[in-house]
């Protein structure tokens, strides 16, 4: 049986001090249920700023799949940060292509898959709805290129022909 790691009342003095500062400057809109003020985590354990240990069965809303600060994940982030932190999706880099390739291998779609990258689930769903509408919608503006990303590289830069892509003309935007 693990010993109790509660060292202070909850929230402890350091947590209370931070909660008071937060109340003045952070949005009250967050749906926070109880005053857990995090210091650090390891695996499925987290500690608050007063040194109290907790078992984390929420994982940041099902996010920390490999636990808090898994060494392999931390190392991968550090190595990437040493090279560059951001370039934008206007350019190419190895990590993005590798991840899309990896997803193509793992994908349950049963056929070759492509990936669009976002920052959150909301944006991923938004992108899915946009794609679904795009490929089924009828009346769309045709002043953009219909050249697909599968266009051979020897035709770079992509021609911007005013051609319509192949879209089913019988459907409106309904999802």
């Amino acid at each position: 049986m693990k010993k109790t790691h509660i060292k202070t009342e909850l929230p402890g003095p350091k947590a209370r001090e931070l909660l008071a500062r937060d109340a003045l400057v952070d949005s009250p809109s967050y749906p926070r249920d109880y005053p857990f003020v995090m210091s650090h985590g390891k695996g499925a354990e987290v500690w608050d700023v007063d040194g109290n240990r907790f078992l984390d069965f929420a994982a940041g809303i099902a996010v920390c799949s490999t636990g808090h600060s898994h060494p392999a994940v931390v190392q991968a982030i550090k190595d990437a940060a040493d090279r560059f932190i951001h370039i934008s999706s206007d350019y190419w880099h190895e990590g993005q292509v590798r991840l899309a390739e990896r997803m193509n291998e793992l994908s349950p779609l049963g056929v070759p898959a492509m990936s669009f990258f976002a920052q959150s689930g909301t944006e991923s769903v938004e992108a899915a709805l946009k794609l679904a509408r795009y490929v089924t919608v009828a009346a769309v503006s045709s002043d953009f290129s219909a050249v697909s990303t599968a266009e051979p590289w020897d035709r770079w830069p992509l021609p911007r022909a005013n051609t319509r892509s192949r879209r089913d003309s019988s459907r409106r935007c309904r999802v």
Partner: protein, 279 residues
């Protein structure tokens, strides 16, 4: 959201429709009510569904529901989108939750567990569909951030090699332990889930199945004071979504803390702490 029509998620614990199989009932509702009175099937671009419902209450669909949706979509030429944001990346003991039923979507969305905490989402589509997107049709600033991609690649390796199978094994153990609680306490209505995506629905008593929202809120707070971090979902469901690496000892510890918190929450709500039934 304009242009969106909602359909209920099948819930055999709280049936909305007549009949034992709420999955088939929802499929009939879509086809015989929505498509007839609300939106013609020919105008529907896609049906978007979570293979296991998340925020709505951790609902596991009845067998045959997802395959029925697939068949319905195919018949009407509608795209099927699986939202695996919460259920994907090993959470349910398979890499993707829909693999429990062997149903393939046309498009799938991911986030949450994918980056182990780094903010990344992916929308994965059949190449035949996504390659129709023209250059400039959709883009963003941060998409494909190298730190996020690196974290996701490391995460996928760990989940595929180790944690996915662990989630299946430890999840089964966890559910068994929670079902023991359901035998002991009449306020524990239903235990449901797959792998380490588990919901425990709280009710005023098992006979009435009335959602016990205040008790659920109280339990979440009392659990914190027992040093267990939990969140709720739906109306009165406690959800368990620990890191996929936990072992049975972690489950034993958590269930012990949970039971202590539950007794306190019940006392605070003036609910008798008693066995629901013998055994």
């Amino acid at each position: 959201m304009p242009g969106v029509t909602h359909a209920p998620y099948p819930n055999n614990y709280r049936p909305l429709f007549a009949g034992a199989d709420q999955g088939q009932a929802v499929l009939r509702y879509i086809e015989e009510v929505l498509f007839v009175h609300n939106v013609p099937a020919g105008e529907v671009a896609a049906i978007l569904v979570e293979p296991i419902q998340g925020e709505g209450g951790y609902l596991v669909p009845p067998d045959g529901f997802l395959s029925g949706l697939r068949e319905l979509c195919d018949r009407h030429g509608i795209l099927l989108i699986f939202d695996e944001v919460q259920s994907g990346i090993g959470r349910t003991g398979k890499m993707f939750a829909a693999q429990h039923w062997g149903v393939a979507p046309d498009i799938m969305t991911l986030a949450k567990g994918l980056g182990s905490g780094m903010p990344i989402g992916m929308m994965v589509a059949k190449r035949s569909i996504m390659q129709k997107w023209a250059r400039g049709a959709h883009g963003n600033t941060y998409g494909g951030n190298p730190l996020c991609c690196a974290a996701a690649l490391a995460t996928l390796d760990l989940v595929e090699r180790q944690y996915c199978a662990n989630a299946a094994k430890v999840g089964d153990y966890f559910m068994k332990k929670l079902r023991v609680l359901a035998q002991k306490y009449s306020v524990v209505g239903e235990i449901r889930g797959k792998g380490l995506m588990i919901g425990m629905e709280l009710v005023t008593d098992q006979a009435s199945r009335t959602p016990a929202k205040k008790l659920c809120d109280a339990l979440i707070t009392r659990a914190f004071h027992h040093r267990l971090i939990l969140l709720s979902c739906g109306q009165s469901t406690v959800r368990f979504m620990p890191p996929l690496l936990i072992g049975e000892a972690d489950v034993d510890e958590a269930v012990g803390l949970l039971e202590g918190a539950l007794k306190e929450a019940m006392a605070g709500e003036h609910l008798p702490v008693r066995g629901a039934a013998a055994g």
